[in-house]
Protein backbone atom coordinates (compact mmCIF):
# COMPACT_ATOMS: atom_id res chain seq x y z
CA UNK A 1 0.00 0.00 0.00
CA UNK A 2 1.51 3.29 -1.00
CA UNK A 3 1.18 6.64 0.72
CA UNK A 4 -1.38 7.87 -1.82
CA UNK A 5 -3.78 4.95 -1.12
CA UNK A 6 -3.33 5.36 2.60
CA UNK A 7 -4.12 9.05 2.32
CA UNK A 8 -7.27 8.27 0.34
CA UNK A 9 -8.48 5.83 3.01
CA UNK A 10 -7.63 8.36 5.63
CA UNK A 11 -9.60 11.01 3.81
CA UNK A 12 -12.64 8.74 3.51
CA UNK A 13 -12.46 7.79 7.17
CA UNK A 14 -12.21 11.42 8.14
CA UNK A 15 -15.18 12.31 5.95
CA UNK A 16 -17.27 9.46 7.42
CA UNK A 17 -16.34 10.52 10.89
CA UNK A 18 -17.28 14.10 10.16
CA UNK A 19 -20.60 13.05 8.70
CA UNK A 20 -21.33 11.04 11.83
CA UNK A 21 -20.47 13.83 14.22
CA UNK A 22 -21.33 17.07 12.52
CA UNK A 23 -24.80 18.41 12.05
CA UNK A 24 -25.51 20.33 8.87
CA UNK A 25 -26.64 23.90 9.27
CA UNK A 26 -30.12 24.16 7.78
CA UNK A 27 -30.77 27.13 5.48
CA UNK A 28 -33.11 29.82 6.79
CA UNK A 29 -36.74 28.83 6.43
CA UNK A 30 -38.98 31.90 5.98
CA UNK A 31 -42.14 29.85 6.56
CA UNK A 32 -43.37 30.08 10.12
CA UNK A 33 -46.54 28.35 8.97
CA UNK A 34 -46.40 25.64 6.29
CA UNK A 35 -46.72 27.05 2.78
CA UNK A 36 -49.77 24.90 1.99
CA UNK A 37 -51.55 26.23 5.06
CA UNK A 38 -50.82 29.82 4.09
CA UNK A 39 -52.16 29.18 0.62
CA UNK A 40 -55.27 27.64 2.08
CA UNK A 41 -55.85 30.30 4.69
CA UNK A 42 -54.73 33.56 3.11
CA UNK A 43 -56.39 34.90 -0.01
CA UNK A 44 -56.48 38.61 0.74
CA UNK A 45 -53.32 40.33 1.99
CA UNK A 46 -53.52 43.85 3.37
CA UNK A 47 -50.32 45.86 3.29
CA UNK A 48 -49.13 47.98 6.18
CA UNK A 49 -47.44 51.25 5.16
CA UNK A 50 -43.79 50.65 4.21
CA UNK A 51 -41.40 51.68 6.93
CA UNK A 52 -38.17 53.29 5.75
CA UNK A 53 -35.79 55.54 7.63
CA UNK A 54 -34.40 57.83 4.92
CA UNK A 55 -34.95 61.44 3.91
CA UNK A 56 -37.83 61.95 1.51
CA UNK A 57 -39.27 58.47 2.16
CA UNK A 58 -42.55 58.77 0.24
CA UNK A 59 -41.24 57.89 -3.25
CA UNK A 60 -39.37 54.89 -1.78
CA UNK A 61 -42.49 53.74 0.04
CA UNK A 62 -44.57 54.03 -3.11
CA UNK A 63 -41.95 52.23 -5.21
CA UNK A 64 -41.67 49.22 -2.89
CA UNK A 65 -45.38 49.02 -2.19
CA UNK A 66 -45.98 48.82 -5.95
CA UNK A 67 -43.33 46.13 -6.37
CA UNK A 68 -44.64 44.05 -3.44
CA UNK A 69 -48.22 44.43 -4.66
CA UNK A 70 -47.29 43.19 -8.14
CA UNK A 71 -45.38 40.25 -6.70
CA UNK A 72 -48.23 39.20 -4.41
CA UNK A 73 -50.74 39.52 -7.25
CA UNK A 74 -48.48 37.35 -9.36
CA UNK A 75 -48.83 34.75 -6.60
CA UNK A 76 -52.63 34.93 -6.79
CA UNK A 77 -53.23 37.06 -3.69
CA UNK A 78 -55.71 39.92 -3.64
CA UNK A 79 -53.91 42.94 -2.23
CA UNK A 80 -55.43 45.68 -0.09
CA UNK A 81 -53.39 48.91 -0.33
CA UNK A 82 -51.65 50.22 2.75
CA UNK A 83 -53.93 53.27 2.91
CA UNK A 84 -56.67 51.03 4.39
CA UNK A 85 -54.65 49.70 7.29
CA UNK A 86 -52.91 53.05 7.69
CA UNK A 87 -56.25 54.81 8.18
CA UNK A 88 -57.52 52.21 10.68
CA UNK A 89 -54.26 52.35 12.62
CA UNK A 90 -54.34 56.15 12.74
CA UNK A 91 -57.92 56.25 13.96
CA UNK A 92 -57.34 53.57 16.62
CA UNK A 93 -54.16 55.26 17.81
CA UNK A 94 -55.96 58.57 18.16
CA UNK A 95 -58.79 56.90 20.06
CA UNK A 96 -56.33 55.36 22.51
CA UNK A 97 -54.31 58.57 22.77
CA UNK A 98 -51.16 56.98 21.35
CA UNK A 99 -49.19 54.06 22.68
CA UNK A 100 -46.20 55.71 24.26
CA UNK A 101 -45.94 56.16 28.00
CA UNK A 102 -46.13 59.93 28.62
CA UNK A 103 -43.87 59.60 31.67
CA UNK A 104 -41.06 57.46 30.28
CA UNK A 105 -41.46 58.09 26.55
CA UNK A 106 -41.16 54.34 26.01
CA UNK A 107 -43.62 52.24 24.06
CA UNK A 108 -46.37 50.79 26.25
CA UNK A 109 -46.28 47.19 25.03
CA UNK A 110 -49.65 46.24 26.45
CA UNK A 111 -51.30 49.22 24.80
CA UNK A 112 -49.52 48.52 21.53
CA UNK A 113 -50.59 44.86 21.53
CA UNK A 114 -54.20 45.78 22.29
CA UNK A 115 -54.18 48.43 19.60
CA UNK A 116 -52.78 46.02 17.04
CA UNK A 117 -55.34 43.33 17.88
CA UNK A 118 -58.23 45.74 17.47
CA UNK A 119 -56.77 47.27 14.31
CA UNK A 120 -56.33 43.87 12.68
CA UNK A 121 -59.84 42.76 13.54
CA UNK A 122 -61.21 46.02 12.18
CA UNK A 123 -59.15 45.54 9.03
CA UNK A 124 -60.57 42.04 8.58
CA UNK A 125 -64.12 43.32 9.11
CA UNK A 126 -63.72 46.17 6.63
CA UNK A 127 -61.64 44.58 3.87
CA UNK A 128 -62.01 40.80 4.32
CA UNK A 129 -58.24 40.64 4.66
CA UNK A 130 -57.00 37.41 6.17
CA UNK A 131 -53.37 38.43 6.36
CA UNK A 132 -51.36 41.57 7.05
CA UNK A 133 -47.97 42.16 5.48
CA UNK A 134 -45.57 44.52 7.13
CA UNK A 135 -42.82 45.87 4.90
CA UNK A 136 -39.72 47.68 6.03
CA UNK A 137 -36.40 48.71 4.59
CA UNK A 138 -33.88 48.06 7.29
CA UNK A 139 -30.13 48.58 7.73
CA UNK A 140 -28.30 45.30 8.34
CA UNK A 141 -24.75 44.26 9.18
CA UNK A 142 -23.06 42.79 6.10
CA UNK A 143 -19.83 40.79 5.91
CA UNK A 144 -17.51 41.26 2.95
CA UNK A 145 -14.64 39.10 1.89
CA UNK A 146 -12.01 40.21 -0.64
CA UNK A 147 -14.11 43.32 -1.27
CA UNK A 148 -17.18 41.27 -2.11
CA UNK A 149 -20.24 41.68 0.15
CA UNK A 150 -22.97 39.03 0.20
CA UNK A 151 -26.15 39.25 2.25
CA UNK A 152 -29.80 38.25 2.11
CA UNK A 153 -29.56 36.62 -1.31
CA UNK A 154 -27.74 39.43 -3.05
CA UNK A 155 -24.17 40.67 -3.43
CA UNK A 156 -22.28 43.84 -4.27
CA UNK A 157 -18.67 44.93 -4.62
CA UNK A 158 -17.33 47.21 -1.96
CA UNK A 159 -15.66 49.56 -4.46
CA UNK A 160 -16.85 51.21 -7.60
CA UNK A 161 -15.36 49.38 -10.59
CA UNK A 162 -16.81 46.03 -9.44
CA UNK A 163 -14.77 42.88 -9.97
CA UNK A 164 -12.15 44.82 -11.97
CA UNK A 165 -11.26 46.82 -8.90
CA UNK A 166 -11.20 43.61 -6.91
CA UNK A 167 -8.44 42.20 -9.11
CA UNK A 168 -6.22 45.24 -9.18
CA UNK A 169 -7.11 47.26 -6.10
CA UNK A 170 -6.44 46.57 -2.42
CA UNK A 171 -8.46 43.63 -1.13
CA UNK A 172 -10.03 43.71 2.28
CA UNK A 173 -12.49 41.80 4.39
CA UNK A 174 -14.70 43.01 7.19
CA UNK A 175 -18.20 44.20 7.91
CA UNK A 176 -20.22 47.08 6.58
CA UNK A 177 -23.87 48.15 6.44
CA UNK A 178 -26.39 47.25 3.78
CA UNK A 179 -30.09 47.79 3.21
CA UNK A 180 -32.51 44.90 3.08
CA UNK A 181 -36.18 44.59 2.40
CA UNK A 182 -38.01 42.94 5.31
CA UNK A 183 -41.41 41.35 4.82
CA UNK A 184 -43.52 39.84 7.58
CA UNK A 185 -46.86 38.22 6.84
CA UNK A 186 -49.07 37.44 9.80
CA UNK A 187 -52.61 36.16 9.94
CA UNK A 188 -55.37 38.35 11.23
CA UNK A 189 -54.79 37.03 14.78
CA UNK A 190 -51.20 38.25 14.58
CA UNK A 191 -49.65 34.79 14.21
CA UNK A 192 -46.44 35.00 12.18
CA UNK A 193 -46.72 33.08 8.92
CA UNK A 194 -43.81 34.16 6.78
CA UNK A 195 -40.78 36.34 7.48
CA UNK A 196 -38.07 37.00 4.95
CA UNK A 197 -35.44 39.44 3.77
CA UNK A 198 -34.09 40.48 0.40
CA UNK A 199 -30.83 42.40 0.14
CA UNK A 200 -31.11 45.71 -1.73
CA UNK A 201 -27.81 47.57 -1.78
CA UNK A 202 -24.85 48.62 0.33
CA UNK A 203 -25.19 51.69 2.46
CA UNK A 204 -21.49 52.07 3.05
CA UNK A 205 -18.64 51.24 0.64
CA UNK A 206 -14.88 51.53 0.46
CA UNK A 207 -12.63 54.09 -1.14
CA UNK A 208 -9.02 53.27 -0.46
CA UNK A 209 -9.05 52.21 3.16
CA UNK A 210 -11.93 54.49 4.13
CA UNK A 211 -15.62 53.74 4.33
CA UNK A 212 -17.97 56.29 2.83
CA UNK A 213 -21.75 56.57 2.97
CA UNK A 214 -23.78 56.17 -0.20
CA UNK A 215 -25.66 59.43 -0.78
CA UNK A 216 -29.45 59.56 -0.58
CA UNK A 217 -29.54 60.30 -4.34
CA UNK A 218 -27.81 56.99 -5.08
CA UNK A 219 -30.15 54.92 -2.93
CA UNK A 220 -32.94 52.88 -4.56
CA UNK A 221 -32.08 54.10 -8.06
CA UNK A 222 -31.11 50.69 -9.38
CA UNK A 223 -34.46 49.21 -10.42
CA UNK A 224 -32.89 45.84 -11.11
CA UNK A 225 -31.66 45.65 -7.52
CA UNK A 226 -35.02 46.80 -6.15
CA UNK A 227 -36.85 44.15 -8.16
CA UNK A 228 -34.38 41.50 -7.15
CA UNK A 229 -34.82 42.31 -3.46
CA UNK A 230 -38.57 41.80 -3.81
CA UNK A 231 -37.99 38.54 -5.71
CA UNK A 232 -35.65 37.22 -3.03
CA UNK A 233 -38.00 38.19 -0.21
CA UNK A 234 -41.26 37.03 -1.76
CA UNK A 235 -40.65 34.37 -4.41
CA UNK A 236 -40.65 31.53 -1.84
CA UNK A 237 -44.05 32.74 -0.59
CA UNK A 238 -45.60 32.67 -4.04
CA UNK A 239 -43.92 29.35 -4.82
CA UNK A 240 -41.58 30.73 -7.42
CA UNK A 241 -37.88 29.94 -7.67
CA UNK A 242 -35.43 32.81 -7.33
CA UNK A 243 -33.73 33.57 -10.65
CA UNK A 244 -30.08 32.48 -10.73
CA UNK A 245 -27.69 35.37 -10.40
CA UNK A 246 -26.59 37.02 -13.63
CA UNK A 247 -23.67 39.42 -13.82
CA UNK A 248 -24.91 42.98 -13.72
CA UNK A 249 -24.48 45.10 -16.81
CA UNK A 250 -22.34 47.65 -15.00
CA UNK A 251 -20.10 44.88 -13.69
CA UNK A 252 -19.81 43.27 -17.12
CA UNK A 253 -18.56 46.57 -18.43
CA UNK A 254 -15.90 46.60 -15.77
CA UNK A 255 -14.27 43.50 -17.16
Amino acid sequence: MNARTAMWIFGVALAVSLCACAATTAPYNPFKTPQAEIKNKVKVVALAPVSVGVDNPDPVKAKFEALVTAKLQEGGFTVVPSTEYGAIWKQMTETLGGFFDPMTGKRDDQKFKTLRQHAMRELAAKTNADGLMEIAIVPVKVSFNIDHARWHGTDEYMRSGGAWAMFFGPQTSGTTTGLSLYVDLSDINDVDMYINFGGIQLLSKLSGNQFYQISRQELFNDEERNHKAVDIALNPLIGKAIEPEKPKASEEKSY
Binding site: M1, N2, A3, T5, A6, M7, I9, F10, G11, V12, A13, L14, V16, S17, L18, A20, C21, A22, A23, T24, T25, N29, F31, K32, T33, P34, E37, M92, T95, L96, G97, Q110, K111, T114, L115, H118, R121, A125, D187, N189, V191, D192, M193
Partner: protein, 392 residues
Protein backbone atom coordinates in the same frame (compact mmCIF):
# COMPACT_ATOMS: atom_id res chain seq x y z
CA UNK B 1 6.11 5.06 7.59
CA UNK B 2 3.80 7.90 6.60
CA UNK B 3 1.34 5.40 5.19
CA UNK B 4 1.39 3.34 8.38
CA UNK B 5 0.83 6.43 10.58
CA UNK B 6 -2.04 7.59 8.46
CA UNK B 7 -3.64 4.18 8.52
CA UNK B 8 -3.36 4.08 12.29
CA UNK B 9 -4.97 7.51 12.49
CA UNK B 10 -7.78 6.50 10.16
CA UNK B 11 -8.40 3.35 12.19
CA UNK B 12 -8.64 5.46 15.32
CA UNK B 13 -11.24 7.66 13.67
CA UNK B 14 -13.22 4.74 12.34
CA UNK B 15 -13.13 3.08 15.73
CA UNK B 16 -15.24 5.91 17.07
CA UNK B 17 -12.61 8.10 18.67
CA UNK B 18 -14.50 11.14 17.52
CA UNK B 19 -17.90 10.14 18.85
CA UNK B 20 -17.27 8.03 21.93
CA UNK B 21 -18.45 9.59 25.18
CA UNK B 22 -15.86 10.37 27.85
CA UNK B 23 -15.97 8.11 30.92
CA UNK B 24 -16.73 9.86 34.23
CA UNK B 25 -17.81 8.31 37.53
CA UNK B 26 -21.54 8.91 38.07
CA UNK B 27 -22.94 10.79 41.05
CA UNK B 28 -23.60 8.24 43.75
CA UNK B 29 -24.17 8.36 47.50
CA UNK B 30 -21.51 5.69 48.01
CA UNK B 31 -18.72 7.97 46.79
CA UNK B 32 -17.84 11.48 47.80
CA UNK B 33 -18.60 13.85 44.96
CA UNK B 34 -16.14 16.57 44.03
CA UNK B 35 -16.92 19.26 41.47
CA UNK B 36 -13.95 20.00 39.24
CA UNK B 37 -13.11 23.51 38.00
CA UNK B 38 -14.58 22.92 34.54
CA UNK B 39 -17.68 21.29 36.01
CA UNK B 40 -18.11 24.24 38.36
CA UNK B 41 -18.37 26.48 35.28
CA UNK B 42 -21.24 24.36 34.04
CA UNK B 43 -22.94 24.68 37.41
CA UNK B 44 -22.54 28.45 37.24
CA UNK B 45 -24.11 28.47 33.77
CA UNK B 46 -27.17 26.83 35.26
CA UNK B 47 -27.56 29.70 37.72
CA UNK B 48 -27.11 32.28 34.95
CA UNK B 49 -29.76 30.49 32.88
CA UNK B 50 -32.18 30.47 35.81
CA UNK B 51 -31.72 34.20 36.37
CA UNK B 52 -32.21 34.98 32.68
CA UNK B 53 -35.30 32.83 32.55
CA UNK B 54 -36.82 34.70 35.46
CA UNK B 55 -35.83 38.08 34.08
CA UNK B 56 -37.45 37.22 30.75
CA UNK B 57 -40.65 36.22 32.56
CA UNK B 58 -40.45 32.68 31.21
CA UNK B 59 -40.42 30.87 34.54
CA UNK B 60 -43.82 29.25 35.05
CA UNK B 61 -45.04 30.03 38.53
CA UNK B 62 -46.98 27.20 40.14
CA UNK B 63 -45.35 26.21 43.45
CA UNK B 64 -47.71 23.26 43.96
CA UNK B 65 -46.94 21.83 40.55
CA UNK B 66 -43.21 22.36 41.13
CA UNK B 67 -43.46 20.58 44.46
CA UNK B 68 -45.27 17.68 42.81
CA UNK B 69 -42.67 17.41 40.02
CA UNK B 70 -39.89 17.40 42.59
CA UNK B 71 -41.66 14.66 44.53
CA UNK B 72 -41.72 12.51 41.37
CA UNK B 73 -37.98 13.15 40.92
CA UNK B 74 -37.35 12.18 44.56
CA UNK B 75 -39.35 8.98 44.13
CA UNK B 76 -37.28 8.06 41.06
CA UNK B 77 -34.02 8.73 42.86
CA UNK B 78 -34.88 6.70 45.95
CA UNK B 79 -31.92 6.92 48.31
CA UNK B 80 -29.40 7.43 45.56
CA UNK B 81 -28.31 10.90 46.64
CA UNK B 82 -28.53 10.45 50.39
CA UNK B 83 -25.58 12.08 52.09
CA UNK B 84 -24.36 13.90 48.98
CA UNK B 85 -25.91 17.31 49.61
CA UNK B 86 -27.17 17.14 46.04
CA UNK B 87 -30.79 17.23 44.97
CA UNK B 88 -32.32 17.86 41.57
CA UNK B 89 -34.51 20.94 41.26
CA UNK B 90 -37.34 20.60 38.79
CA UNK B 91 -38.72 23.79 37.25
CA UNK B 92 -41.18 24.68 34.51
CA UNK B 93 -40.64 26.98 31.53
CA UNK B 94 -43.47 28.80 29.73
CA UNK B 95 -42.96 27.35 26.27
CA UNK B 96 -45.40 25.36 24.14
CA UNK B 97 -42.69 23.43 22.30
CA UNK B 98 -41.71 19.95 23.42
CA UNK B 99 -38.64 20.03 25.60
CA UNK B 100 -37.11 18.96 28.88
CA UNK B 101 -33.45 19.50 29.66
CA UNK B 102 -31.01 19.11 32.49
CA UNK B 103 -28.13 21.21 33.73
CA UNK B 104 -24.99 19.85 35.37
CA UNK B 105 -26.12 20.93 38.83
CA UNK B 106 -29.33 18.90 38.59
CA UNK B 107 -31.67 21.69 37.54
CA UNK B 108 -34.23 20.02 35.33
CA UNK B 109 -36.52 22.15 33.19
CA UNK B 110 -39.78 20.98 31.69
CA UNK B 111 -41.56 23.04 29.06
CA UNK B 112 -45.27 23.58 29.67
CA UNK B 113 -45.80 22.10 26.18
CA UNK B 114 -44.34 18.77 27.17
CA UNK B 115 -46.18 18.56 30.50
CA UNK B 116 -49.46 19.36 28.74
CA UNK B 117 -48.99 16.39 26.41
CA UNK B 118 -48.29 13.80 29.12
CA UNK B 119 -51.30 11.76 30.28
CA UNK B 120 -50.22 10.45 33.64
CA UNK B 121 -47.45 10.38 36.23
CA UNK B 122 -45.86 7.21 34.82
CA UNK B 123 -45.37 8.97 31.48
CA UNK B 124 -43.90 11.97 33.30
CA UNK B 125 -41.60 9.57 35.19
CA UNK B 126 -40.38 8.20 31.86
CA UNK B 127 -39.12 11.60 30.74
CA UNK B 128 -38.00 12.56 34.24
CA UNK B 129 -36.03 9.30 34.59
CA UNK B 130 -34.26 10.01 31.31
CA UNK B 131 -33.38 13.55 32.41
CA UNK B 132 -32.27 12.44 35.89
CA UNK B 133 -29.95 9.94 34.23
CA UNK B 134 -28.26 12.85 32.41
CA UNK B 135 -27.69 14.53 35.78
CA UNK B 136 -26.48 11.41 37.62
CA UNK B 137 -24.17 10.39 34.78
CA UNK B 138 -22.80 13.98 34.59
CA UNK B 139 -23.55 13.94 30.88
CA UNK B 140 -23.06 17.67 30.25
CA UNK B 141 -19.57 17.32 31.74
CA UNK B 142 -18.85 14.23 29.65
CA UNK B 143 -20.04 15.99 26.52
CA UNK B 144 -18.01 19.09 27.29
CA UNK B 145 -14.82 17.11 27.85
CA UNK B 146 -15.57 15.07 24.75
CA UNK B 147 -15.91 18.24 22.67
CA UNK B 148 -12.73 19.68 24.18
CA UNK B 149 -10.87 16.53 23.24
CA UNK B 150 -12.32 16.71 19.71
CA UNK B 151 -11.19 20.32 19.38
CA UNK B 152 -7.67 19.42 20.50
CA UNK B 153 -7.62 16.42 18.17
CA UNK B 154 -8.87 18.57 15.30
CA UNK B 155 -5.93 20.89 15.76
CA UNK B 156 -3.47 17.97 15.73
CA UNK B 157 -5.15 16.44 12.71
CA UNK B 158 -5.13 19.70 10.82
CA UNK B 159 -1.36 19.85 11.22
CA UNK B 160 -0.99 16.29 9.93
CA UNK B 161 -3.23 16.96 6.98
CA UNK B 162 -1.44 20.12 5.96
CA UNK B 163 1.80 18.17 5.95
CA UNK B 164 0.21 15.53 3.76
CA UNK B 165 -0.99 17.99 1.12
CA UNK B 166 -4.61 17.76 2.19
CA UNK B 167 -4.39 21.17 3.75
CA UNK B 168 -7.40 22.74 2.11
CA UNK B 169 -9.64 19.92 3.24
CA UNK B 170 -8.22 20.19 6.71
CA UNK B 171 -9.07 23.88 6.88
CA UNK B 172 -12.73 23.42 6.14
CA UNK B 173 -12.89 20.17 8.07
CA UNK B 174 -11.67 21.51 11.37
CA UNK B 175 -13.85 24.56 10.96
CA UNK B 176 -16.91 22.45 10.41
CA UNK B 177 -15.83 20.16 13.22
CA UNK B 178 -15.74 22.84 15.82
CA UNK B 179 -18.60 25.02 14.60
CA UNK B 180 -21.17 22.45 13.64
CA UNK B 181 -20.40 19.66 16.08
CA UNK B 182 -23.56 17.96 17.28
CA UNK B 183 -25.43 20.00 19.82
CA UNK B 184 -26.80 18.19 22.83
CA UNK B 185 -25.85 14.66 23.76
CA UNK B 186 -24.50 11.97 21.51
CA UNK B 187 -26.52 8.93 20.49
CA UNK B 188 -24.61 6.72 22.94
CA UNK B 189 -25.26 9.04 25.88
CA UNK B 190 -28.97 9.27 25.03
CA UNK B 191 -29.19 5.48 24.78
CA UNK B 192 -27.58 5.17 28.22
CA UNK B 193 -30.08 7.67 29.60
CA UNK B 194 -32.97 5.69 28.08
CA UNK B 195 -31.75 2.57 29.82
CA UNK B 196 -31.11 4.20 33.18
CA UNK B 197 -34.37 6.14 33.01
CA UNK B 198 -36.57 3.11 32.48
CA UNK B 199 -34.70 1.18 35.18
CA UNK B 200 -35.32 4.01 37.67
CA UNK B 201 -39.03 4.17 36.85
CA UNK B 202 -39.52 0.42 37.17
CA UNK B 203 -37.57 0.27 40.42
CA UNK B 204 -39.71 3.13 41.76
CA UNK B 205 -42.87 1.13 41.14
CA UNK B 206 -44.09 2.76 37.92
CA UNK B 207 -45.71 0.80 35.13
CA UNK B 208 -43.27 0.45 32.20
CA UNK B 209 -46.33 -0.02 29.99
CA UNK B 210 -46.51 3.80 29.97
CA UNK B 211 -42.99 4.26 28.58
CA UNK B 212 -43.86 3.87 24.93
CA UNK B 213 -47.13 5.85 25.14
CA UNK B 214 -45.10 8.75 26.62
CA UNK B 215 -43.06 8.96 23.44
CA UNK B 216 -45.80 8.03 21.00
CA UNK B 217 -48.01 10.82 22.39
CA UNK B 218 -45.21 13.23 21.54
CA UNK B 219 -44.75 11.66 18.12
CA UNK B 220 -48.47 11.88 17.37
CA UNK B 221 -48.43 15.52 18.35
CA UNK B 222 -45.51 16.09 16.04
CA UNK B 223 -47.89 15.58 13.14
CA UNK B 224 -50.19 18.21 14.58
CA UNK B 225 -47.46 20.78 15.13
CA UNK B 226 -47.64 23.68 12.72
CA UNK B 227 -43.92 24.28 12.62
CA UNK B 228 -40.96 22.04 13.08
CA UNK B 229 -40.36 21.48 16.80
CA UNK B 230 -36.93 22.90 17.58
CA UNK B 231 -36.05 20.81 20.63
CA UNK B 232 -34.95 17.31 21.57
CA UNK B 233 -38.38 15.83 22.35
CA UNK B 234 -39.82 17.48 19.28
CA UNK B 235 -37.43 15.93 16.78
CA UNK B 236 -39.10 13.06 14.99
CA UNK B 237 -35.80 11.23 14.42
CA UNK B 238 -34.75 11.49 18.05
CA UNK B 239 -38.21 10.51 19.25
CA UNK B 240 -38.10 7.45 17.03
CA UNK B 241 -34.72 6.60 18.54
CA UNK B 242 -36.29 6.81 22.03
CA UNK B 243 -39.17 4.63 20.89
CA UNK B 244 -36.82 2.04 19.35
CA UNK B 245 -34.51 1.91 22.38
CA UNK B 246 -37.35 1.76 24.88
CA UNK B 247 -39.46 -0.78 23.03
CA UNK B 248 -36.51 -3.18 23.15
CA UNK B 249 -36.24 -2.66 26.91
CA UNK B 250 -39.99 -2.87 27.56
CA UNK B 251 -40.46 -6.01 25.50
CA UNK B 252 -37.28 -7.58 26.89
CA UNK B 253 -35.90 -6.84 30.34
CA UNK B 254 -39.10 -5.24 31.73
CA UNK B 255 -41.79 -7.28 30.00
CA UNK B 256 -42.88 -8.92 33.27
CA UNK B 257 -43.57 -5.55 34.92
CA UNK B 258 -45.76 -4.19 32.10
CA UNK B 259 -49.33 -3.71 33.42
CA UNK B 260 -48.37 -5.64 36.58
CA UNK B 261 -51.06 -5.13 39.26
CA UNK B 262 -50.12 -2.43 41.76
CA UNK B 263 -47.78 -0.61 39.38
CA UNK B 264 -48.14 3.15 39.63
CA UNK B 265 -49.70 5.10 36.74
CA UNK B 266 -51.49 7.86 38.67
CA UNK B 267 -53.39 9.61 35.91
CA UNK B 268 -55.83 11.25 38.29
CA UNK B 269 -53.31 13.19 40.37
CA UNK B 270 -51.25 14.15 37.32
CA UNK B 271 -54.31 15.54 35.52
CA UNK B 272 -55.29 17.50 38.61
CA UNK B 273 -51.78 18.94 38.97
CA UNK B 274 -51.62 20.20 35.39
CA UNK B 275 -55.21 21.47 35.38
CA UNK B 276 -54.20 25.14 35.23
CA UNK B 277 -51.13 24.53 33.09
CA UNK B 278 -53.29 23.02 30.34
CA UNK B 279 -54.99 26.35 29.77
CA UNK B 280 -51.85 28.44 30.18
CA UNK B 281 -50.14 26.30 27.59
CA UNK B 282 -53.18 26.47 25.31
CA UNK B 283 -52.83 30.26 25.32
CA UNK B 284 -49.20 29.85 24.19
CA UNK B 285 -50.22 27.42 21.46
CA UNK B 286 -52.94 29.82 20.27
CA UNK B 287 -50.39 32.63 20.12
CA UNK B 288 -48.19 30.63 17.74
CA UNK B 289 -51.17 29.44 15.72
CA UNK B 290 -51.10 25.76 16.76
CA UNK B 291 -54.85 25.57 16.98
CA UNK B 292 -55.34 21.79 17.14
CA UNK B 293 -52.82 21.40 19.95
CA UNK B 294 -54.52 24.24 21.83
CA UNK B 295 -57.91 22.64 21.35
CA UNK B 296 -56.63 19.33 22.65
CA UNK B 297 -55.32 20.93 25.88
CA UNK B 298 -58.52 22.94 26.39
CA UNK B 299 -60.63 19.82 25.85
CA UNK B 300 -58.53 17.92 28.41
CA UNK B 301 -59.12 20.74 30.90
CA UNK B 302 -62.85 20.85 30.22
CA UNK B 303 -63.12 17.07 30.54
CA UNK B 304 -62.24 17.35 34.23
CA UNK B 305 -63.90 20.73 34.80
CA UNK B 306 -66.86 21.16 32.40
CA UNK B 307 -67.92 24.41 34.07
CA UNK B 308 -64.58 26.16 33.72
CA UNK B 309 -65.31 29.69 32.42
CA UNK B 310 -61.74 30.15 31.23
CA UNK B 311 -61.85 26.78 29.49
CA UNK B 312 -64.97 27.81 27.56
CA UNK B 313 -63.53 31.24 26.82
CA UNK B 314 -60.40 29.69 25.32
CA UNK B 315 -62.49 27.22 23.37
CA UNK B 316 -64.23 30.30 21.96
CA UNK B 317 -60.82 31.67 21.01
CA UNK B 318 -60.01 28.40 19.30
CA UNK B 319 -63.25 28.49 17.28
CA UNK B 320 -62.88 32.16 16.38
CA UNK B 321 -59.32 31.68 15.17
CA UNK B 322 -60.48 28.63 13.20
CA UNK B 323 -63.10 30.77 11.47
CA UNK B 324 -66.05 29.05 13.16
CA UNK B 325 -67.85 32.15 14.44
CA UNK B 326 -71.06 30.39 15.35
CA UNK B 327 -69.32 27.95 17.71
CA UNK B 328 -67.14 30.77 19.03
CA UNK B 329 -70.21 32.75 20.11
CA UNK B 330 -71.63 29.66 21.83
CA UNK B 331 -68.38 29.03 23.70
CA UNK B 332 -68.06 32.66 24.84
CA UNK B 333 -71.71 32.56 25.93
CA UNK B 334 -70.97 29.45 28.01
CA UNK B 335 -68.05 31.27 29.62
CA UNK B 336 -70.31 34.14 30.75
CA UNK B 337 -73.02 31.69 31.77
CA UNK B 338 -70.57 30.14 34.25
CA UNK B 339 -69.07 33.47 35.25
CA UNK B 340 -71.15 36.57 34.55
CA UNK B 341 -68.19 38.75 35.65
CA UNK B 342 -65.94 37.42 32.90
CA UNK B 343 -65.08 40.73 31.21
CA UNK B 344 -63.02 39.36 28.31
CA UNK B 345 -65.80 36.98 27.31
CA UNK B 346 -68.31 39.89 27.22
CA UNK B 347 -65.95 41.90 25.05
CA UNK B 348 -65.39 39.01 22.64
CA UNK B 349 -69.13 38.45 22.41
CA UNK B 350 -69.54 42.16 21.65
CA UNK B 351 -66.90 42.03 18.92
CA UNK B 352 -68.45 38.91 17.41
CA UNK B 353 -71.95 40.42 17.38
CA UNK B 354 -70.59 43.65 15.90
CA UNK B 355 -68.94 41.68 13.08
CA UNK B 356 -72.19 39.74 12.60
CA UNK B 357 -74.14 43.02 12.24
CA UNK B 358 -76.10 42.54 15.49
CA UNK B 359 -75.51 46.03 16.95
CA UNK B 360 -77.98 45.83 19.83
CA UNK B 361 -76.46 42.58 21.12
CA UNK B 362 -72.98 43.97 20.59
CA UNK B 363 -73.79 47.14 22.52
CA UNK B 364 -75.23 45.15 25.45
CA UNK B 365 -72.06 43.05 25.74
CA UNK B 366 -69.75 46.05 25.36
CA UNK B 367 -71.61 47.89 28.10
CA UNK B 368 -71.18 44.91 30.44
CA UNK B 369 -67.48 44.87 29.60
CA UNK B 370 -67.11 48.57 30.38
CA UNK B 371 -68.93 48.21 33.68
CA UNK B 372 -66.69 45.31 34.69
CA UNK B 373 -63.48 46.90 33.45
CA UNK B 374 -63.90 50.65 33.11
CA UNK B 375 -60.15 51.29 33.05
CA UNK B 376 -59.28 48.63 30.48
CA UNK B 377 -56.59 49.66 27.99
CA UNK B 378 -59.04 49.30 25.13
CA UNK B 379 -61.97 50.98 26.94
CA UNK B 380 -61.82 54.06 24.61
CA UNK B 381 -62.12 51.80 21.53
CA UNK B 382 -65.03 49.88 23.04
CA UNK B 383 -66.72 53.17 24.03
CA UNK B 384 -66.45 54.26 20.41
CA UNK B 385 -68.13 51.02 19.32
CA UNK B 386 -70.93 51.58 21.83
CA UNK B 387 -71.50 55.05 20.39
CA UNK B 388 -71.72 53.77 16.82
CA UNK B 389 -75.11 54.47 15.26
CA UNK B 390 -77.33 51.42 14.81
CA UNK B 391 -78.91 50.42 11.49
CA UNK B 392 -81.23 53.08 10.06
Amino acid sequence: MVARSLLLLSSLISAGWSCAPVALPPIDSSKSFQVGADEKKLWDQSEIFRQRLEKAGLAYEDPELEQYLNSVAARLLGGRLQGTNLAPKVKVVKDPFLSAFTFADGSIYFHTGLLARMENEAQLATIMGHELAHFLHRDSMRELRHKESRRASARVLQGVLILTALGMFADTASDAWVKTAVEGYSKEIEAEADKAGIRAMVESGYDPGEVLPAFTVLKTDWNEAKVKEPYFYGSIALLQERIDNNSQLVSGEYQRQVNEPGRRVNAEEYTARIHRLLLDNAVLDLEVGRLRLAESSIAKHLATDPQSPQGHFLMGEFYRRSGNNEEAVKAYARAVAFDAQYADAHRELGLMYRAMARPADARAEFEKYLVLRPKAVDAPIIERYVAEPGPQ
